[in-house]
């Protein structure tokens, strides 16, 4: 019995960032990398299922990216994942989420898990597309924005809730194996223990190339993607009027704003 958790190493921007000379992305010198916030929750959900099961459940994490991604995979291993896979080839550079879905589908066919989790979205590019794109590639049952899950390892059916807009959820039952995109708040992610961090170093991260997955180089990269970046730019600043001065002066102005509102 196996659960595959697809994770992403995301980038946040340093305070004073610059756009790259080609105008297509932020200069990598200004990017701070970390595991995507949503993926903490999907990994935790897999770990909860593993720990609640009397049978043998293997949790495998997979990510696509260059060597720096190993750091994020180590973090997952430190939290209890059994092993990690990293997919990379220089030809993948510039791929969109549809290509990521195609690559992950090849990994799923190879690993044959009973359940696949992915985050609802990534915090950097936020396409919110990879998980459901993966389900489409596989032709598997799927549900998006899952905020509660009842699933016994290996079961043919799962019950879940998907989080809708406006404080409403909907209950759903679906057949398994399935691909679920996991929403924030579904659980409380753990921190890695010192013991876990130590053990993570002994766990394997296998690197898979296109050949290992049987994926042709012509089906990855920007030319195989469904969109192409034309330019990235810093949008004009918003309209907030800044209140300057000492905290006391700023607070005095806030009191004026509050009294003005209440008087209105």
């Amino acid at each position: 019995m196996k659960i595959l958790v697809a994770v992403k190493q995301v980038a946040a921007l340093d305070e004073d960032f610059e756009i790259r000379a080609d105008g297509l992305d932020v200069d990598e010198d200004f990017l701070l990398f970390d595991l995507n916030e949503w993926d903490d929750y999907s990994l935790e959900e897999a770990m909860k299922i593993k720990e609640a099961s009397s049978g043998d459940v293997e949790v495998v994490v997979v990510s696509i990216g260059p060597e720096r991604v190993d750091e994020s995979l180590r973090k997952c291993l430190a939290k209890g994942a059994d092993r990690a896979l990293r997919v990379w080839d220089d030809a993948i550079e510039g791929s969109d989420s549809s290509v990521m879905a195609r690559l992950l589908a090849a990994v799923v066919r190879k690993e044959a898990p009973d359940m696949v989790f992915a985050g609802v979205q990534s915090s950097d590019h936020a396409f919110a597309a990879t998980g459901i794109g993966l389900a489409g590639e596989l032709g598997w049952p799927h549900a998006a924005v899952v905020n509660a899950l009842d699933y016994a390892p290996g079961a043919r059916q799962a019950s879940l809730k998907r989080e809708l807009e406006g404080g409403v959820s909907q209950s759903v039952t679906l057949q398994c194996p399935a691909v679920l995109t996991i929403q924030l708040g579904i659980n409380t992610p753990r921190y890695a223990s010192l013991r876990g961090i130590k053990q993570a170093n002994a766990k394997p991260i296998d690197v898979l190339g296109l050949g290992d997955l049987g994926v042709a180089a012509s089906t990855v990269g920007v030319d195989a993607s469904l969109s192409r970046v034309r330019r990235m730019y810093i949008p004009p600043k918003g309209r907030a009027q800044m209140i300057e001065g000492s905290p006391d002066q700023q607070a005095a102005r806030l009191v004026e704003i509050i009294r003005e509102f209440k008087g209105a």
Partner: protein, 317 residues
Amino acid sequence: MSKILVIAEHRQGELRPVSLELIAAAQGLGGPITVAVIGANAQAFVPALSLPGVDEILTVASPFAEFNPEVQEAAVAALITELAPAVVLLGHTVDSLAYAAALAGKLGLGFASDVFKIECQGSDLVATRAAYSQKVNVEVDFPGKATVLLTVRPAVFKPAEGSASPATRSIAAPAVTTTSAPGEYIEIASGNDIDITTVDFILSVGRGVGEEANIQQFRDLAETAGATLCCSRPIADSGWLPKSRQVGQSGKVASNCGLYLAMGISGAIQHLAGMKHVGTIVAVNTDPEASIFSVAKYGIVGDMFEIGEALKEALEG
């Protein structure tokens, strides 16, 4: 611009507001517009969708009254095959998240999600979306794609208005063997707690509050100021305030709020969805680049604890 296909959304018998926004976005592109609505009771939505600029309304009869991702995907795929539209517009909503990417991948369509600007530059369709916590905008195009599927950010385009009498046509959704069964809707219970959609002055705290013990300072401040204490998602997810106090896309919309004081909230797009309409927004954040400042009327770059304390003293003094 050639043909545009708009997929209207509904839930529990109500047309979702994004549907009219999508029609407005389509009007802006200036091509013939077909609006499709899928469901067992699709006919019921025809009057509300009969808007100027809409050339045809297609009601697609399916066995299910409510959204089902597999039925929706198959129905939209069939419409794309039949109509060969240049652009297909969906809302960037939870329903679309359940099938849009799968559909785009299978049909090899041009695809971008959460777009808030769509334009034609020469013969190219160009869509704009944001990245890195709204700190940059990204223009994307779709070389060689005959059909482009876009999911459009809600509450950006002003809903289409007016009335017209477009042609209507009824078709059947393709038969699909479904692997999932959507069930009942569950509303977050607010219990005896206040309904935040009704209040006019909100003090809202976000991740900047740091830890649960720090909530009390802002509870006290809210009481002194006569505001209702609310929060962004991470605070409710952590259980530091009840889910019924969460403002945003998956929480509640501050519908009747006139003054919104956001402290330690960076302004994720999902949070902005619940409050950016408020007349007077004041944001306090340590990060001068935080996107909350792009919707705020007044901003303070500073420490929420320090400002909070000074504000409480000033209100008491």
